[in-house]
Symmetry: C2
Subunit: 553 residues, 2 copies
């Protein structure tokens, strides 16, 4: 019984999730994993290149596909993955799910926690795989696809373990009727809705997929994972590890399957619309996301994370340089390819208050430009912060950003990466637009593009930021104010459009970061997505409570 | 602080809900409410007849409407209700909601529990109002619209109180970074999604409406209650009591408003489609219910209870007479106008096993016919069990049931009600059909119609019952078997289509009954409805968790 081995981890995770306190089961520093782990992981990654990926326990019915290209070398990885017909995937999932659903929540939690332990042995290999598919820096690749993703998965296990045990499995019910009483034996079962489908994205192939996968599995559902064809390897390594542990524990490894496809022949819609697929987790662009959400009308339960336009509201600061350095890092980190990256900076035309008096709009813009320039040109910081641009389309959009309109404060340019001369890089573009240019700033400009929007005052900034969130979605909002009344107003208004606010971040914490076991990721309340990692809703919509009663004579 | 007064009730309710044990905060026996309560209640009801209902604290913008007719006397009640324009209702709801949302979960729970106490002072008045709008017997009217409805409302308060406090309101988060640590103040708010709309039905105007109303209000939402125009009074009395308590506690009584309309000018769609209405609870027929569910595509969160075809699977019994008496009562109770009433009886062609040997299909049918006949003709039991038929359309459908096809075992006939000579009554019709007559038994035949379906064997019965549930929905399933293997099979198969099973009910407990704090009502997993009283999902979909963070220097 693996639950015995992992009971402590699960109990701690339940408690931390409940209390939203800091809790990291998986250390985020590569050094914690042993001296030879980095070299072994890199070697393992290299050994996978230019050949079929054979670790998966899956039936290959339709040949193989693979089209990943490293954003650092611009060379194909040369790895191919098994392609399986949709009907076969669903049939195998259902068969595996039947056995899995019969397990107790505790048994499922035990086995799933063991799969995370197994995945953690592959963190370095997954880090290299993430780096050479997404363009993330090595450090971000390690953290986001390794410990942070595992922590989010553990969070889903913990929430599931708790919610599945919310009501008792069995009880005797007795209703006094005066001289006698009626007795019933009652039992309550949690019946999984699945199979589930998890649709991954090209920028965070592990971090954004594990929560839905583990939420499906802990609640008794089999899961089919459909990665972006340009970012398969990181999640394929994780799935292989999961399958291994499932099989070792007498479970059907087909409980968790990879559904690889190719850009020429995408199978996402086919999978989504399969009548047996009941649960869909989606991360990616809004246009396809809206299609996935529309499948709710066909009885699918959909969990989405789409795009949003994230705002920064600048009102008043204690230390303008500390603030702008923090924001320069936020917009440069992974070249703005995070769904949490800020895009729209709302700044009053009269400038920002500081203890030393007002700083004008132009001064703020100039200081921000200088902070970004200093960061990206810093030989120790620049390339590592920016990482690489995942795909050519993003690069082209960024290159064209100068033509959007408005005043160009900074033009994005390639940044030299000393280790990878061919890396696809681009520093942030900074544009100034007016508050009337809604046509420009109401869209998500994915990648390193920042808009400085001149507003009448902070109330006007707040009005525009909240309207953007309500109409186009927002996952984060950064705000800087030294006035408690303004602070409360910003919190109330942004929260009313279901957007969380991070106030006065400086130093080593950035608005882009959402911590497992503490911060929710996406609220689920505005058009940026309908799901939230990991609140109760993320779990309880995946299964159904059913109660049976037996008359006791 | 009303929470102090009611803390004990709320704590007990949370505990009972969690443990699914028996818990009745409100006694279901009229005698428990004091000697003069019945007479006072009846007098209060009579004083309301033939005049405007003036207790509501609502703006009357569109005159008055009222068209209720007693199914017992066939006379109009002559009561009119204020009609308010949709736009006014929504505007007033939003204004009231803003203040309400600022209260803590504890304050809301305290005030709402006080509203239930106030409603309980009207139980007898509401009972008469229910009787003379729905056609329920006095005893069922008292129980269903009184203590049972209040208990379900309290269950929603308890689940809400628990879920709203699932995460802490405030905490200090600290992340160790080696030589220093990062500190953030975090706060978590539950932001209501509302306003909510609760659409009532003509047969259970209180029991089916209170759970959604209280689920909305405990989670911070204002609620607009749109009753069926033929069954307004019972819920109007409850709403007036709620408004009274809200106002006494400094809250805006418009938090809970009645939206009366008339059959000539129904406003349900107008309310449903109002862009500000975010939550909809619906009870009623499947066709309108499917429309309401389709509004999910417009961003509405919908909770539905529609129709289903409920099955009884007869395999083997200890005492056939006890079983058939129990079932005769189940199909006669309120003339089969309960969403939980069984309709399709699946009986093997070879008959049913008993300790004394097989009983043939025809013997079972004859015994069942005799049990129903004896019950409805029993002068002490018949009229009180059947109550009256709520509306003429149901009566016509029942009268035409003999023409559906199949063999008529019993023709429904009027049953004399000694107290009310004009009562619209009808005893059950019993038809025998073959398992091939799916066109007949796949529909809900609302009212006192029972189909005896001849199957090959119990496996065949189970196949048909589960197919009906999956395709057309089911809220209950009764099953009789003395074989544990068969029992487990029936439970597993019916549960897999999200239908609860009640086994071997005899005596004073019937498949139609779902107890608050113990039985879920509707699972939410099959076409009978997407919501369940009262699981976590019934609550958590009504609000959004939003977390704010502030950097601590």
């Amino acid at each position: 019984m693996l639950i015995t081995k992992h009971q402590n981890i699960i109990d701690n995770a339940v408690k931390a999730n409940h209390e939203r306190t800091f809790y990291a089961q998986y250390p985020e520093h590569p050094k914690a994993y042993g001296e030879d782990a980095p070299a072994k992981g890199e070697a393992a990654f290299k050994s996978l290149l230019n050949q079929p990926f054979t670790r998966l326990k899956q039936h290959v019915s339709e040949g193989r596909a693979g089209e990943e290209v490293s954003p650092y070398t611009l060379e194909p990885l040369g790895i191919t993955y098994p392609v399986t017909a949709t009907e076969e995937l669903v049939k195998a999932a259902r068969r595996a799910g039947d056995r899995w659903a019969a397990l107790s929540a505790a048994d499922r939690a035990g086995i799933l926690t063991e799969t995370l332990e197994r995945i953690s042995g592959h963190f370095f290999e997954i880090a290299h795989a993430t780096m050479h598919t997404t363009g993330q820096s090595f450090m971000m690749s390690f953290q986001a696809s390794g410990p942070h993703a595992n922590d989010r998965a553990l969070e889903a296990i913990a929430m599931g373990y708790q919610q599945l045990r919310h009501f008792p499995e069995k009880l005797q019910w007795e209703k006094p009727m005066g001289k006698f009483s009626i007795k019933l034996e009652k039992s309550f079962r949690t019946v999984p809705k699945g199979p589930g489908l998890v649709i991954g994205c090209s920028t965070f192939p592990v971090w954004n997929s594990l929560p839905g996968m583990y939420a499906d599995m802990i609640t008794g559902n089999p899961v089919i994972v459909k990665p972006h064809p340009k970012a398969v390897l990181p999640i394929a390594i994780a799935i292989a590890a999961i399958q291994e542990v499932l099989e070792e524990n007498g479970q059907d490894p087909y409980l968790c399957q990879l559904a690889a496809d190719s850009s020429d022949h995408l199978i996402t819609k086919e999978l989504c619309e399969h009548p047996q697929i009941a649960l869909i987790d989606y991360t990616g662009g809004s246009s396809f996301g809206n299609y996935v959400e529309s499948l709710a009308a066909k009885g699918k339960t959909v969990f989405s994370e789409k795009a949003g336009v994230n705002s920064v509201i600048l009102d008043s600061v204690k230390d303008i340089d500390a603030v702008l350095q923090n924001l320069a890092f936020s917009v440069s980190l992974y070249s703005g390819q995070m769904c949490t990256a800020p895009q729209n900076f709302f700044i009053p035309e009269s400038g920002i208050s500081t203890p030393e008096g007002k700083i004008s709009f132009n001064e703020v813009a100039a200081k921000f430009r200088d902070a970004v320039t200093a960061l990206v040109n810093n030989p120790k910081m620049g390339a590592g912060t920016l990482g690489a641009i995942q795909n050519e389309a993003t690069l082209q959009r960024v290159n064209a950003a100068g033509q959007l309109g408005g005043k160009v404060w900074l033009n994005g340019t390639p940044v030299v990466n000393e280790e990878y001369g061919s890396a696809r890089t681009c520093s942030p573009t900074i544009l100034e637009v007016s508050s009337a240019d809604q046509g420009i700033f109401e869209k998500e400009l994915f990648g390193p593009v920042v808009l400085l929007i001149k507003t009448k005052d902070t109330d006007h900034s707040l009005l525009l930021a909240s309207r953007m969130a309500a109409q186009h979605g927002a996952i984060t909002c950064g705000a800087y104010t030294t006035d408690d009344t303004v602070k409360e107003k910003i919190a109330t208004v942004m929260n009313s459009v279901f957007t969380p606010v991070s106030f006065n971040f400086t130093g080593f914490i950035w608005v882009n970061q959402h911590a497992a076991f503490s911060d929710f990721h996406v609220t689920g309340g505005n058009p940026a997505g309908n799901a939230s990692f990991t609140n109760q809703e993320f779990i309880v919509k995946r299964f159904v409570w059913v109660g049976n009663r037996t008359y006791v004579d």
